[in-house]
């Protein structure tokens, strides 16, 4: 006995309302719940779908929703590892060396110490800009939310805080030697390139997995 499309949508909607907002984790939970309910029906449960579902969720909701947290943790771990690997790839390394060369060359012809006051703020401006665009297009086009794309924002903010912590602890602002600022700025830009590489690969992975199916 198979559940109808409406039954599946009901489970999916219920899970979405229970804060399982990312479609890549929700679809697995929906399939699990649907498979359990179908097995109960095959096993002789004569009740209507809604009543079986209700009892199942009462008994298993906590265990089921704990998947959400663990999935997000695993996603963060996976993303951090991917970003680190991407940081060692040639586009990121090239960005780092080009930026270093550019800052050093610019400093020879003009004073770029103004970079010191901007270097900490630029990543935040970028984050707010991309964040607003992302959430506006989600609402506008009614797109599904995918875990890796959103968790990338979390990793970005963490990297930004780490950057600021280093900045404040070491008090680089007062350092006369501008090379420290150049290294940090170049590293921040290389990190941004690495993140873009990871986002691109995750988008194409999601497209391969879901595009032909939905």
């Amino acid at each position: 006995m198979k559940l109808t499309k409406e039954d599946i949508q009901f489970i999916d909607q219920y899970l979405e309302n229970s804060d399982v907002v990312h479609v890549d984790i929700r679809m697995e939970m929906t399939d699990h719940v649907a498979s359990e309910i179908e097995a109960m029906m095959v096993g002789g449960d004569q009740r209507a779908f809604y009543f079986i579902f209700k009892d199942y969720m009462v008994a298993n909701k906590h265990s089921l929703l704990s998947n959400n947290k663990s999935f997000i943790k695993a996603t963060d771990k996976q993303l951090s590892l991917s970003i680190f690997k991407a940081l060692l790839k040639w586009p990121s390394l090239l960005t780092f060396f080009i930026c270093m060369l550019l800052f050093t060359s610019l400093n020879m012809v003009t004073n770029i110490s103004v970079l010191k006051s901007w270097v900490g703020v630029l990543p935040l401006i970028g984050f707010v800009f991309f964040g607003v665009i992302y959430f506006v297009q989600l609402k506008w086009f009614k797109l599904e939310r995918f875990s890796a794309l959103e968790r990338m924002g979390f990793i970005y903010v963490m990297a930004f805080h780490l950057f600021h912590l280093c900045w404040n602890i070491s008090n680089f602002k007062k350092v006369e030697n501008n090379y420290v600022v150049y290294i940090l700025s170049s590293l921040a830009l290389a990190l941004l390139v690495a993140m873009v590489l990871v986002v691109k690969s995750r988008i194409s992975e999601y497209q391969n997995r879901f595009e032909k199916l939905v």
């Binding site: 399939d31 699990h32 906590h62 265990s63 999935f71 997995r209």
Partner: protein, 116 residues
């Protein structure tokens, strides 16, 4: 309790969950979450029941470690996520099974020296 066993030995099984998953996937080309729980229940004649709260985090960790690959297919009005072993996953399965066999042998020697 995440892994339910009829005897109070769920902690013993908990440490072997990854090995159980890898072994099952090694024997089957690809499997989905619910299928794994049912297969374990069937093989152990109901002695061991893996709940979703234990299974999916383990699957996601194995996927994050690059031991499992994922394939999504549309089945019965819904999307189904299938897991299969990667090349590294196959190697890791062999290692894990070897470790488990060694562990069982050691325990056997301790608990029942005559059989060891």
């Amino acid at each position: 309790m995440y892994i339910c066993a009829t005897m109070s030995n769920s902690k013993l099984y908990k440490g072997s969950l990854n090995t159980i998953i890898l072994k099952l996937l090694n024997e089957n080309d690809k499997m989905y979450g619910y299928e794994i729980t049912q297969k374990v229940k069937e093989l152990t004649k109901g002695e061991l029941k893996i709940t979703e709260g234990a299974l999916y985090p383990a699957l996601h960790k194995l996927e994050a470690q690059g031991l499992l690959d994922v394939e999504v297919a549309k089945v019965d009005n819904r999307l189904r996520k299938y897991y299969k072993l990667t090349e590294n996953g196959t190697k890791e399965t062999a290692n894990k099974l070897e470790e488990l066999a060694e562990y069982i042998k050691t325990m056997q020697a301790l608990v029942n020296p005559k059989l060891a």
